[in-house]
């Protein structure tokens, strides 16, 4: 153990990722501090941490995005480090700088690396300089809609409108025709402003049917930088990932090696430290282009953990303590892992978020299954934040077995009270195009109709039996209660009620 051993970590995040980080800290015997907004007092991560600090009103701008309040919270509890999770402040260089000034360790890269990669247009320039191939588009953010429109006309539709400060699909719009440009541009600007506090946008050519493949990299402060494996993230709805897997079906050993080396080159070009992800688009000819580098832990990092057995959060903390990362040849990948993101949303209504109270929750278990969740039964999913409830991951020796296992686990997942995408995820995994491995980022749009599952008519009678017996039980109980109140003691000794109680004890329905 080095002299820089961390003893108390504040997690500047919420939901499942805060819970995820707390788990590793607990295993490392590091004290944890949660932060929470008004909407999150009852949140799972608050209950799980050793300490919790209130940081403001529900809108994230006034709480999870408020650098001053978070630094102040860390000072107040004597935290020696902050883990930013993903989203929120995780890729804000000014946050890392504020921590530097406050003498608190930021569990992440240096602010200079974040700046070099954080503004997507700057990142593209850096990569081009390092000889990493990039997608055609604007070299800098574009201020005027008219200027952007002129560039779109030049590079040709469809184009992607993207937030310069962006990531995670927020403030990102695909525009197919000039007629839609104004509406999408303005919508992207508003989304970017509210999600990142920075509404600068830029354009990129939309590649036809590309696949999204990303490479996990890790670097320490002693000059070592390794790649840990790829993740295929082409199943996306509204430009957000829903299913991720590793290994990717289109990479052979040579291409994997080549992409890994390019990813390491990209990380080294910006003096990287800690966990990072280099995202690529792969076209139908298997050419790959640099898309962006996410200078933080990725939502889908468990996929990589499952196939390598590594704990990436532990490695982040070790790097922050000045320790060394393993050598490239020590990283061994084994089997196949797939992650499905469980969202509070309704796929039948354009993936509309469905905040509300979870009246009942039962999560899957069994061999090779991992559920990284941030919710519990009775929790009200707030409207203010991302609707991600949980990430369900399955590992198995082969891809087919991993698909079967994840389907089995999704079948065990029960969430009542709010609408989720559980059936949508299962339909995607069952789809022949996914099974064959021949899919790209157009998958969700192309098969939209197939992925909205319809109930199996053969089961309708049984469903009606269940619904009718449940109504019957409720009606019988109501009648009993009414009789008991109306008839007093006499009714409570009735044969009806005695029989009913006997049934309750057995666990069965009362007659």
């Amino acid at each position: 153990m080095g002299p820089r051993r961390l003893s108390k970590v504040l997690i500047a995040n919420r939901g499942e990722i805060a819970v995820r980080v707390i788990r590793t800290c607990r295993e490392m015997d590091i004290a944890t501090v949660a932060v929470y907004s008004d909407a999150d007092r009852g949140s799972f991560h608050v209950r799980n941490a050793d300490q919790a600090v209130y940081i403001g009103p529900s809108p994230s701008r006034q709480s999870y995005l408020d650098i001053e309040r978070i630094v102040e919270a860390a000072r107040a509890v004597g935290a020696d480090a902050i883990h930013p999770g993903y989203g929120f402040l995780s890729e804000k260089a000014e946050f890392a700088r504020a921590l530097e000034r406050a003498g608190i360790t930021f569990i992440g890269p240096r602010p200079e690396s974040m700046e070099a990669m954080g503004v997507k247009t700057t990142a593209r320039r850096h990569m081009a300089d390092a000889g990493v191939p990039t997608v055609p588009g604007s070299p800098a953010p574009i201020a005027e809609e008219s200027e952007a429109r002129a560039l779109a006309d030049r590079i040709g539709y469809p184009v992607m409108i993207k937030a310069a400060a962006g990531g995670g699909g927020k403030g990102m719009k695909r525009c197919d025709a000039p007629a839609e440009f104004a509406r999408l541009w303005q919508s992207a600007r508003r989304e970017a402003g509210s999600a990142f506090g920075d509404d600068r946008l830029y354009l990129e050519k939309f590649l036809d049917q590309p696949r999204h493949v990303e490479v996990q990299v890790f670097a320490d402060e002693h000059g070592a930088c390794i790649w840990i494996g790829e993740r295929e993230c082409s199943v996306q709805r509204r430009q957000q990932k829903v299913i991720e897997e590793s290994p990717s079906c289109i990479l052979d050993a040579r291409m994997r090696e080549a992409m890994g080396e390019v990813a390491v080159r990209a990380a080294r070009a910006v003096g990287y430290r800690g966990a990072g992800t280099v995202e690529f688009l792969v076209d139908s000819q298997r050419n790959f282009y640099f898309l962006e580098m996410n200078t933080r832990l990725q939502v889908e990092h468990p996929v990589t953990e499952m196939i390598t057995g590594l704990d990436l959060v532990r490695m982040q903390i070790e790097v922050a303590q000045g320790e060394r990362i393993p050598a490239q040849e020590q990283v061994v990948r084994r089997g196949h892992a797939i992650e499905a993101r469980v969202y509070a949303e309704d796929p039948a209504r354009g993936f509309m978020p469905s905040p509300g109270k979870i009246t009942y929750l039962r999560v899957p278990a069994g061999p090779g299954v991992r559920d990284d969740s941030g919710v519990y039964s009775g929790w009200v999913v707030p409207q203010y934040y991302d609707p991600l409830l949980s990430k369900l991951v399955a590992w198995a020796p082969t891809r087919d077995q991993a698909i079967a296992r994840l389907l089995r686990a999704l079948g065990e997942y029960t969430v009542h009270g709010i609408t989720t995408n559980l059936d949508y995820l299962a339909a995607a995994l069952r789809h022949p195009a996914f099974r064959s491995g021949e899919y790209d980022t157009g998958f969700c749009a192309r098969y939209a109709a197939d992925l909205l599952s319809r109930p199996d008519p053969a089961l309708e009678d049984v469903a009606l039996i269940a619904a009718a017996l449940s109504a019957h039980k409720r009606d019988t109980e109501e009648a009993e209660e009414f009789a008991a109140r109306a008839g007093g003691a006499a009714a409570s000794r009735s044969r009806w009620l005695r029989l009913g109680r006997a049934r309750v004890l057995r666990g069965g329905l009362p007659p």
Partner: protein
């Protein structure tokens, strides 16, 4: 053992009806008649919302998710949104009339959120599927569309306003 009870199940958003007759035979044992099919059912209640059913000997695990007047029954990856009515409720429902897009249609917020854009003014002619109001919730924008061709006759919200789920946004006639 109590008398048989008949229920009407409304399926496919209320467009289809089936009658289910429940006759208790003994503790947890029922005869259930749906159309001309008669099933012998042994029902055992597990934890919240979970029901183990032995229907003519076949074993099913059903989970029931109560959503207001509806219940979502999940069985082996199929979900059936059903509304179960007894005779009294059915009579009330019939008196209230049928669902239609004739006349004035009110557009409500499907979830709590913030109005970021109002796309049509009172008096505007709109087409079915045309966007009326954009609501932001959970960091994503959602455009609410007109349910029919017509004219905007009411507008209840302005840009920047926060709305509750089910709040009236506007009406099209």
């Amino acid at each position: 053992v109590t008398a048989p009870v008949s229920y009407v199940a409304l399926l496919d958003a209320g467009t289809r009806e089936r009658t289910v007759r429940v006759s208790p035979l003994g503790p947890g044992i029922f005869e259930v008649r749906i159309g001309d099919q008669v099933h012998r059912v042994d029902a055992y209640r597990h934890d919240h919302g979970t029901l183990s059913l032995l229907v003519d000997g076949a074993s099913y695990s059903a989970t029931l998710d109560e959503r207001g007047s509806k219940v979502h029954v999940r069985l082996e990856g199929s979900v059936f949104p059903v509304e179960i009515l007894d005779e009294k409720k059915l009579r009330l429902r019939r008196a209230a009339g049928r669902f239609t897009v004739e006349g004035k249609q009110t557009v409500t917020a499907p979830m709590p959120g913030k109005v970021v854009k109002v796309l049509a003014a009172v008096g505007a002619q709109v087409k079915e599927g045309q966007g009326l109001v954009v609501i932001e919730a959970m960091k994503m924008e959602n455009e609410l569309k007109s349910p029919k061709d017509g004219r905007v006759v009411e507008l209840h919200v302005r840009e920047g306003q926060t709305v509750e789920g089910n709040a009236k946004l506007c009406a099209v006639e």
